[in-house]
Amino acid sequence: MVSFQEKTVADLNIGEKGIINDFKDPSMSLKLLEMGCLPGTEVTLDFIAPLGCPIGIRVAGYHLSLRKKEAATIVLKPNQA
């Protein structure tokens, strides 16, 4: 089971970075993988659209836009404090 404390891409602040660890939604993950969002890849939150959704991330050297709900399926590695 996943712990409820998990941080996802949807939790990032603008400019904050994270490393992809896992996906919560298998069918969504197929599209994300295809777009280069692989486990171990660094993502940076670029912008949040004016109404809070969609959001824009920088991943694998380009910009990807996705809905907040979709971003919440991308689990990040816990921060090493």
């Binding site: 692989l38 670029d46 910009h63 996705l66």
Partner: protein
């Protein structure tokens, strides 16, 4: 054997595939259909040397051979079927060098299918700006296939690519790097290979993983594969996921050997622009400003060429009538044909402006930002941010707009988009709007700069847009769907529009409008002229005699005008108009407008042509004034008021905002939804909406 070798162009969206296609083929292009599917097939021809002509097939942009939308399905349909008439002899995968990793995924998959492949590295200049350099020679050595450097926008490296295609047609080098497989997949692959006699292992796995999307297999084979896959307990999703991860791993290993990344990641120009264009407040202000600019310019800049055309047509008719003998044929030519065609030609400037703007929005990369800005707003109305592209392009024409809805992955989102798109005001309504607004809205300025006519025009477009939203919201409540959809979309970098491309697009669309609409309008104009010039029995002559007898003292000129008017009333067209008059009277229309309503049912742009034909037949032959002047002076015989009063004109405007009067759109919806159900529902709800709304407007304003 195929007559010509087929070269397929593949690549991620925004990798520069269409630039390359244009560079290779020039204007030797045609749009056709793939057998069985409705996706447009873009084919061009290219001469490699004095004896070799090849066919270039431009396939839709995709990130992999696993399709997520109807558009992308064509790629699988062609590449997975070696018996397909368009199965490529060589595939050219166009890759954006500034983002090579993601672009290589598609290359690996295409190559693994056993198709001789060329990797074309495009946008090296962009990569260089980002501090990325690629050693293409080394990459070619590792992959074992030719790697070509290109600048598709500038046309650099095209000859080198042609030369490489020649070589690949003979040498047929491939890069086979099949994914690492577990036992289960191996077993499935070997059974599929045996059963369907496939030598390529990856192709066999594609059969197993994607048979439901391969239409060429047919029902029986699809059923067989279903049971085969079930027997082996083969999980297609798990396979695809493992394949993608393995491939990226492999690509990373390759790319670290050939890519040099120097320097810090600087904030790119695109990122700076996005800070403004996607800003909380400025983002929307700028978007609305851009829309406003479009409407203002469509109305005011286009005015001068339009006036010129209007006067030339009137002048031409005047001149023809003065030099040619007075006969039936001359009347057909001037009052029928030229009056009808003139009613269409006059709108070329406005349509050109509209298409220019839409093409610039797409070319620059701004359209993708509009999708982002609008997604959350528009989702409440049963659509996706991606619906914005069809909605905006349908301001030009609903037919390509409805086809562009194919990029929307979810069936429900796509269906709602298709159903409401025709409510957006298209360029064919523009003629009607323009002429009626010019009649009843003063050509004044408010606040010094804003043209009131332009604002009225924008209001009509806004009304169409709002009603599209409301219709979408209602359909969202009615339609049920459990299907998942996603938004995930690449944001391309901003680019300077390729002006040549914008020019081509304007030319192509204007040509289509003039010839497609022109054909209908010429035919209808001639039929209309006949119907308006002849009547049942000798009713027309009798009516004329009655008028002459009743008005013995009236001067010659006034009498002629009265005669023309009663003749029209007693013609076939007059009878048709009179027949539907009771139904349209509550909307404020007389029988003359009724004729125009009937003829414009096939295509709404016919309205203006019809009106100008009808009123030039009924008018004094000496008076070759412009269409606008003629309408202004027209009197409704029933009320004694001007025919195009404020109430009637607004009622007509509202009617045309909502009415689904376009055969081409109905046919397109039929094709896209594969049945009559949805186009008929669409026709029904839009007709009711048009009638009721026009009724209310007339009754309130009267």
């Amino acid at each position: 054997m195929k007559e010509k070798k087929v070269i397929a162009l593949l690549g991620n969206p925004n990798a520069g595939k269409s630039s390359l296609f244009n560079q290779l083929t020039g204007l030797r292009q045609k749009i056709g259909n793939f057998p069985g599917v409705t996706v447009d097939k873009k084919v061009g021809f290219c001469r490699l040397d004095s004896k070799t002509d090849i066919e270039i097939l431009d396939l839709p942009g995709t990130y992999s051979i696993y399709p997520n939308s109807l558009d992308e399905q064509v790629v699988l349909e062609v590449l997975a079927n070696p018996n397909h008439p368009e199965y490529p002899d060589v595939a050219v995968v166009v890759a954006d060098a500034s983002n090579l990793k993601r672009n290589m995924l598609l290359f690996e998959q295409v190559s693994d299918l056993g198709i001789p492949t060329i990797l074309a590295l495009n946008m090296l200049d962009v990569a260089q700006e980002m501090g990325i350099s690629v050693n293409s020679g080394k990459l070619s050595k590792i992959l074992g296939v030719p790697v070509v450097e290109l600048n598709a926008r500038m046309g650099i490296g095209i000859d080198g690519l042609k030369y490489t295609i020649m070589n690949q047609l003979e040498a047929k080098r491939t890069h086979i790097n099949p994914p690492i497989l577990d036992e289960k997949s191996e077993a499935v692959a070997s059974e599929v290979r045996k059963k369907y006699n496939i030598s390529n292992k990856y192709l066999a796995l594609q059969y197993a993983a994607q048979y439901p999307k391969m239409m060429f297999l047919g029902d029986d084979a699809q059923k067989d594969l279903q049971s085969l896959v079930a027997r082996h307990d083969f999980n297609a999703d798990a396979f695809q996921s493992a394949e993608t991860i393995n491939r990226y791993h492999d690509i990373s290993g390759t790319l670290t050997q050939v890519i040099d990344e120097t320097g810090e990641q600087k904030e790119t120009v695109s990122e700076k622009i996005d800070k403004i264009l996607l800003h909380k407040i400025w983002g929307y202000v700028i978007f609305i400003g851009i829309l406003f600019l479009i409407f203002q310019s469509v109305f005011s800049f286009a005015e001068y060429p339009m006036d010129l055309i209007d006067q030339s047509v009137a002048g031409l008719n005047d001149w023809l009538k003065s030099v040619l003998p007075d006969s039936v044929l001359v009347s057909l030519l001037t009052d029928g044909l030229i009056a009808g065609v003139g009613g269409v030609v006059i709108f070329i400037p406005q349509i050109a402006f509209l298409f220019a703007f839409i093409s610039i929005l797409e070319e620059s990369g701004y359209m993708a930002r509009v999708v982002v800005l609008m997604d959350k707003l528009i989702r409440r109305f049963g659509m996706s941010g991606k619906s914005v592209v069809p909605l905006i392009s349908s301001m030009a024409c609903a037919v390509p707009a409805i086809m562009s809805a194919r990029t929307i992955g979810s069936w429900k989102d796509r269906l709602i988009t298709i159903m409401v798109t025709p409510l957006m005001s298209c360029s064919a309504r523009l003629p009607i709007y323009t002429i009626l607004i010019a009649l009843v809205v003063p050509n004044d300025k408010v606040l010094g700069i804003f043209n009131i006519q332009g604002i009225a025009l924008m209001g009509l477009y806004l009304l169409g847009f709002l009603s599209a939203l409301i219709a979408g919201w209602i359909m969202k409540l009615i339609l049920k769907s459990k299907e998942r959809s996603y938004f995930i979309m690449e944001l391309p970098t901003y680019k300077m529009p390729r002006w040549k491309q914008v020019g081509f697009m304007i030319l192509e669309k204007v040509k289509t409008f003039v010839f497609e609409a022109g054909k209908v309008i010429v035919a209808i104009s001639i039929v209309l002229w006949v119907l308006a010039s002849y009547g049942p029995g000798n009713e027309m002559e009798q009516a004329e005699q009655q008028v002459v007898a009743a008005n013995p003292t009236v001067p010659q000129e006034e009498l002629a005008s009265k005669i023309a008017s009663v003749r029209l009333e007693n013609s076939y067209a007059g009878h048709f108009g009179k027949f539907i008059e009771p139904a349209i009277e509550p909307l404020g229309y007389d029988w003359k407008i009724g004729i125009a309503l009937i003829t414009s049912f096939a295509a709404r742009e016919v309205f203006v042509g019809t009106v100008s034909t009808i009123y030039s037949i009924g008018a004094d032959p000496e008076d070759e004034s412009t269409i606008k002047e003629r309408l202004k002076n027209e009197i409704n015989a029933n009320t004694g008021q001007p025919s195009f009063s404020v109430a009637t004109s607004f009622s007509l405007l509202i009617f045309y905002v909502f009415a689904m009067m376009c055969m081409s759109t109905i046919a397109t919806v039929y094709r896209e939804t594969k049945g009559w159900k949805w186009p008929l529902i669409q026709l029904g709800y839009m007709s009711v909406l048009a009638y009721v709304a026009a009724l209310i407007v007339y009754q309130v304003l009267k």
